[in-house]
């Protein structure tokens, strides 16, 4: 059986089109306000409609959607295939590229391959170790590290591979990266951000952070050192169903530490689901109040309409134009 290469009519989920190119949106805070990106849950099978369900839920509230690269070191539909699907479905993809599974040739090929399909936003990261996943016996690659990958992507955008071989025309890449404001050595994290900025990163999706003081310190240091506004900060907000997910993350995701009182607040609440939402809303409001923060990155583990609620509680405009407006512009 073969899957249709175009989304079937019943899987066309996105009404309207993205309100703008990610690079343009991030560049002009006055005109566009906060920018929302979201992580598309990984997909394993089921054709384009499997992706469509997620995109339909996320795209009305997110300006761009991350196509992940084997998140948590587990094999899934590839980053490039996901990014193409997201784009076909009418949303704006961000191609995640991780250093764990591929050497420099494969990483370069993924980036130019996605660019061939018009996918130009790229987010470079080291990637969890293979031991975090379900095939821990795999060979870890890390042929490049993330700052090197960012600079390799910059070379592609300037018109050549790492080898120097020309790429003509050069793909107009918009390059970003990640950083973890809450992992040791705290004092060094902004300097690492600066290194990534120098290599060519223009946005940083920040790891989920349950220490508001550390996030605030990162943002202030980023401002004082000139990292922002050169680079747009997008702190990640996790939308969770309750305290179990908090316990899971703090125990199993290296680099994420959640203080016990935070977990207990959700655990002991009369309505843990609501308490988890309130926590996320508070985090989002706090993050948006910090200098250099241009928006939020949403990791939605609830898979319901919470992202819509968050967007409306934060008073942010819709990410996609209404269908009627769109029909007029076509």
């Amino acid at each position: 059986m073969s899957y249709p290469s175009r989304p079937p009519a019943d899987a066309a989920p996105v009404t309207g089109s993205p309100r703008g190119d990610l690079a343009d949106l991030l560049a002009d805070p006055a005109a566009h306000g906060p920018v929302i990106t979201a992580e598309c849950p990984a997909v394993d099978s089921g054709g384009i409609s499997a992706v469509a369900a997620h995109v339909a839920r996320l795209a009305p509230h997110a300006d761009a959607i991350n196509a992940t690269d084997n998140p948590a070191a587990r094999a899934h539909v590839s980053n490039v295939a996901m990014a193409i699907a997201i784009k076909q479905l009418g949303a704006q993809p961000i191609l995640q590229v991780a250093c764990r599974d591929k050497n420099r040739l494969a990483l370069e090929a993924d980036i130019v391959g996605a660019a061939l399909h018009g996918i130009t936003a790229v987010c470079c990261m080291t990637g969890d170790d293979v031991t975090a996943g379900d095939e821990p016996e795999a060979r870890r690659v890390f042929d490049l590290d993330s700052p090197q990958l960012i600079r390799a992507a910059s070379s592609l955008a300037k018109g050549c591979y790492l080898s120097g071989r020309a790429l003509d025309p050069a793909p107009p890449l918009f390059i970003g990266a990640v950083e973890n404001p809450a992992a040791p050595p705290f004092a060094y994290r902004v300097r690492r951000g600066l290194k990534k900025a120098a290599a060519g990163a223009r946005f940083l999706q920040l790891q989920i952070c349950y220490h508001p003081d550390r996030l605030a310190e990162f943002a202030e240091l980023a401002r004082d050192s000139g990292l922002t506004p050169r680079v747009a900060l997008l702190p990640t907000i996790a939308l969770l169903k309750g305290s179990r997910a908090l316990r899971y993350m703090t125990a199993n995701v290296p680099g994420i530490h959640i203080p016990e009182p935070v977990i207990e607040r959700v655990e002991n609440a009369a309505d843990p689901g609501e308490a988890a939402y309130r926590l996320a809303l508070e985090q989002a409001e706090h993050a948006l109040s910090l200098p250099g923060v241009r928006g939020l990155h949403i990791a939605d583990f609830r898979h319901d309409d919470t992202i819509a609620r968050l967007r409306s509680d934060l008073g942010l405009p819709a990410a996609h134009s209404a269908p009627d407006t769109d029909a007029l512009t076509v």
Partner: protein
């Protein structure tokens, strides 16, 4: 001769820095901490997986190599401390098991791919 130098280098640097003979030594800019002992062999700083207690994501029994590198580099002379923030180029895998001393003298360790361009 090159082989002999590599052998001597290995004998000297293995016990002190756990040298992995990458052939392009960067110890001076990494707080005298060998980045090739990082399980991910990262040359440009710690990944986002460093645990709350400073332990390595991959091997929780060891302290993050880059956490040590950062602490040690802060105690180094100013010029070397500044080099900590340099963007170190990708490893040239052809130099594995060759002498970094010989490669330093010949300049071979500073050869980068043609497409490795100055900062954006």
């Amino acid at each position: 001769m090159a082989r002999l130098l590599a052998t001597i280098e290995h004998v000297v640097k293995k016990p002190i820095w756990d040298c992995r003979m990458c052939g392009q030594c960067v110890l001076h800019s990494t707080g005298l901490t060998c980045p090739m002992t990082c399980p991910k062999q990262l040359r440009n700083g710690p990944c986002g997986g460093v645990r709350e207690d400073g332990a390595c994501e991959v091997d929780p029994s060891m302290t993050c190599v880059w956490l040590k590198a950062h602490n040690r580099s802060e105690r180094m002379p100013r010029t070397l401390r500044k080099e900590f923030d340099d963007l170190r180029p990708p490893v040239d895998n052809r130099l594995q098991d060759t002498s970094s001393w010989a490669n330093l003298l010949s300049g071979r360790d500073r050869v980068v791919p043609d497409g490795w361009q100055p900062d954006a």
